[in-house]
């Protein structure tokens, strides 16, 4: 009987999206809200297209096909081509050592491999410029980029290594494969999606980052745009460079989806899974421990030592308490406001994604995610132009700055909210309704309390991003805005590294708990 049931056409009915209320009314207001947010997220793209049309083809050719642009393009491409592969090798090697061998103290190494995320990229740069003043050019850019961004690859790869079903490896071994062959033929292919996801993030950060490269005077598209913008705001040159940068982003996104193909992460099956096999390193344990140790020294030790050194050298002089307190309060206010706004803005699309998946909803979701992968400079350029041309009162206002934050961190808010809404399945709401609660009361008493912790986490994640955001803040903030990041930047621009140190320290102290929380959460998600 069961086989007959399996092929029954109605079996498909059980796979339908269960996201409709009685009578099949779609959530019209929610759809409208998600559509609005998606439209707003199209502003940067629309801006570039509009500028291109305004500028005209001959002028575009004139502005784009210049030696300067070629130089920036080569620099950016070389940066990507060297940094991403090195970061992949480092991250996979670390993840394997930490997750799949009996390396002593693997829990500590795991936390240390994620901790560099708590240090803003431009603080990494600051650390290295101070430690090795002769560092410059492509090698310096690659070195610091790898150290600042490899955790983006380490996190998903380590999670995937923990999640892999060891019985598959047992099967390969029983088919006569040596441990080495098992790793290369069975484990590595299953890491592909995790490596791709992390590499895309690294690639996009390399395109978007301004502070890191400005500090070591390595010119990329982002630094080039900010330079042009600062000399002559709203210049067609800056806008056209923004257009090329946008194309680079789409190139990366396209390459990622092409490499990914039709593959998806395998669903983790129910039931307890055996813990993964840890290979015994034997006498190699100590020499191999050098890898995580050296990585931690370079990625954490160097920036932290620099900050600590300047703090001790500077003494009380570098602690103008009133200034630091005001920057701290402003940063916190902007971060919390931005976090709340981004979470609110992401809520309709996240709700639809969990409760009423459809083609339209996937379109909204794509809009929400694409805008977050744009560099801060492009979002800032677009908002500057739009406010100057259309709504001048909003030019250089906090509203515009917060809008930029919402756009840049929309994907973070989406991801957190989706996960938390999934904690409150429709069945529970229906159970509440069957117990006599109106739909509104059911949402208020069941869904809100269940989704609240996840929503709070997504507010915190966005706030963390805003705390360490530099580029858009520099370009958009109203006169007199002093955040930790902009103050740090102003001090280093005057080469007053000692005065910059307290701001760096504050940013690290604010970010560290969140980064570690993220790390332990990813361990829990992997079912360990």
């Amino acid at each position: 009987m069961s086989s007959a049931a399996d092929i029954h056409p109605l079996a498909a009915a059980s796979a339908r999206p269960s996201g409709r209320v009685a009578g099949g009314r779609p959530y019209a207001p929610v759809v409208a809200a998600a559509a609005c947010v998606s439209l707003v997220s199209l502003i940067p793209l629309g801006f570039i297209v509009w500028v291109a049309i305004q500028t005209g083809w001959t002028r575009i050719v004139e502005l784009v096909f210049r030696p300067r642009i070629g130089e920036l393009l080569v620099n950016t491409a070389l940066l990507e081509l060297f940094t991403v592969p090195i970061a992949i090798v480092l991250a996979v090697a670390l993840a394997w050592l930490i997750e799949r061998t009996d390396l002593p103290g693997h829990r500590w190494w795991s936390a240390l491999a994620v901790a560099p995320l708590a240090i803003p990229a431009f603080v990494h740069s600051y650390g290295w410029v101070n430690a090795v003043p002769s560092l410059h050019g492509l090698p310096a850019a690659v070195l610091i980029s790898v150290l600042a961004y490899f955790p983006f690859i380490y996190l998903p790869v380590a999670a995937q290594l923990r999640r892999l079903d060891p019985s598959v490896e047992d099967a390969a071994a029983s088919l006569g494969k040596t441990p080495r062959q098992v790793f290369l033929q069975v484990v590595v292919p299953q890491l592909r999606l995790a490596v791709l996801a992390g590499s895309l993030l690294v690639g996009l950060h390399l395109l978007a980052e301004y502070g890191l490269y400005a500090m070591i005077r390595f010119d990329t598209f982002s630094t080039g745009i900010v330079d042009v913008y600062q000399s002559a705001y709203n210049s067609p040159a800056a806008n056209m460079m923004g257009g090329v940068l946008l194309l680079c982003c789409f190139l990366l996104l396209g390459a990622d989806s092409w490499l990914r193909g039709g593959e998806r992460y395998a669903r983790v099956g129910p039931g307890a899974q055996r813990p993964p096999i840890r290979r015994s390193l034997g006498a190699l344990a100590l020499p191999l421990m050098a890898l995580p140790l050296v990585t931690a020294i370079l990625s954490l030790g160097v920036p932290l030592a620099t900050v600590a050194r300047w703090l001790t050298f500077g003494g009380a002089r570098v602690w103008p308490v009133a200034d630091i307190a005001s920057a701290f309060v402003q940063t916190l206010a902007l971060a919390v406001a931005g976090g709340l706004l981004a979470t609110l803005a992401a809520a309709p699309a996240a709700w639809l994604a969990v409760r009423a998946p459809s083609r339209l909803q996937r379109l909204f979701e794509a809009g929400h995610y694409y805008v977050g992968s744009l560099p801060g400079v492009i979002v800032a350029l677009a908002l500057v132009t739009v406010t100057v041309r259309l709504v001048f009162p909003l030019y250089q206002s906090y509203a515009t700055l917060l809008l930029a934050y919402v756009m840049l961190f929309l994907p973070r808010a989406m991801a957190g909210l989706r996960a938390s809404l999934a904690q409150a399945p429709l069945e529970l709401e229906q159970a509440a309704m069957a117990l006599g609660k109106s739909p509104f009361a059911a949402v208020r008493r069941i869904t809100f309390p269940l989704a609240a912790p996840g929503a709070a986490a997504s507010v915190a994640l966005v706030a963390l991003g805003i705390t360490n955001e530099l580029t858009a803040t520099l370009m958009l903030s109203p006169n007199g805005t002093r955040t930790l990041a902009t103050e740090f930047w102003a001090m280093t621009a005057e080469l007053d590294y000692a005065a910059a140190a307290p701001y760096a320290a504050m940013m690290i102290v604010l970010s560290l708990p969140l980064s570690l929380a993220l790390h332990s959460q990813s361990e829990r998600f992997a079912g360990q």
Binding site: M1, S2, A4, A5, D6, H8, P9, L10, A11, A12, A13, S14, R16, A22, G23, G24, Q423, P425, E427, L428, Q430, A431, A432, M433, A434, L435, G436, K437, S438, P439, A442, R445, I446, P449, L450
Partner: protein, 348 residues
Amino acid sequence: MSLLVVEGASKRYGNVVALDGVSLEVAAGSRTAIVGPSGSGKSTLLRVIAGFEAADSGKVVLDGTKLCDDGFATPAHRRQIGIVSQDGALFPHLSVSDNIGFGLNGDARDRKGRILELLQTVELEPSMAERRPHQLSGGQQQRVALARALARKPKLMLLDEPFSALDASLREHMRRAVARMLHTANMTAILVTHDQSEALSFADQVAVLRGGKLVQAGTPQELYFRPFDGETAHFLGEAVVLDADIDGAIAECVLGRIPLDAPYPPGRARIMIRPEQFSMSDAKTDKYGSVGCPGQITFVEFGGAAWTVAVSVAGGTPVTVKVNSALAPAVGDRVRIDVAGRAHVLPG
């Protein structure tokens, strides 16, 4: 008197017909089981009754009140219908007593007494009241879910595969316990399940759904021994279906002449016999002087309480027989088969 009347309920999702004109009546105080393979529309029917989905057409009437009719549907929270779902759907952020009291209004003292009373009804210790759902076993969670649904004294209780997440031994125990609790509470209930044995042992009325259509409804015995067609017969248990010539109340088939449960018009037809109706004896020793149909054993399988034995009778037709497990049948043995009780002609 019928408490619930469903009339011509139909529902489609795009091109997929989930319910196709289903009509069903449920008597007050009775237990009905809706059974069918996955995708048969049984869950959709339950959701239409509960008010989580609206039927495209058809009526649902509860206790004389129309719940849904063309283009009109009472929302779920105004239906006075309780539901217990597969995983219990307990609110994870509330304690056991807050879960049970979720649908209760009224002052706090009343509420506490009522919650304790309900815990007692579902045979849980009062000390459980302050636990959280994740501290309960699967069976306990289902008891709490039932208590929570009973709290509002609904007119009808819907049970959506409530035992399927439990392991086999607990499942049987819970099924009996729930039947007892529903009886104590004098509650009319509808159980949806894909497990035929659960349906047959739990319900006063069993309704078989297939492809969105109601195939047959009746008492468990009626459905088991007098199924409408072969598919239903096989769905509800093992069955031997044979071609036969009907002559009044006698069927002539490879097993010989077998009495029918009712007279049928003469002609060719298909008859059904349950394997437990057969008895088997050794053809050589033939201690019981059997006059049964001769055959040879082609397959044996030990199943604890009984052997499942396939016997090839005249013309090579295989017949499945359940045999006392104390015997020792072997492949190749020559045997005779007798039929106890009556055969049933499949009308469908």
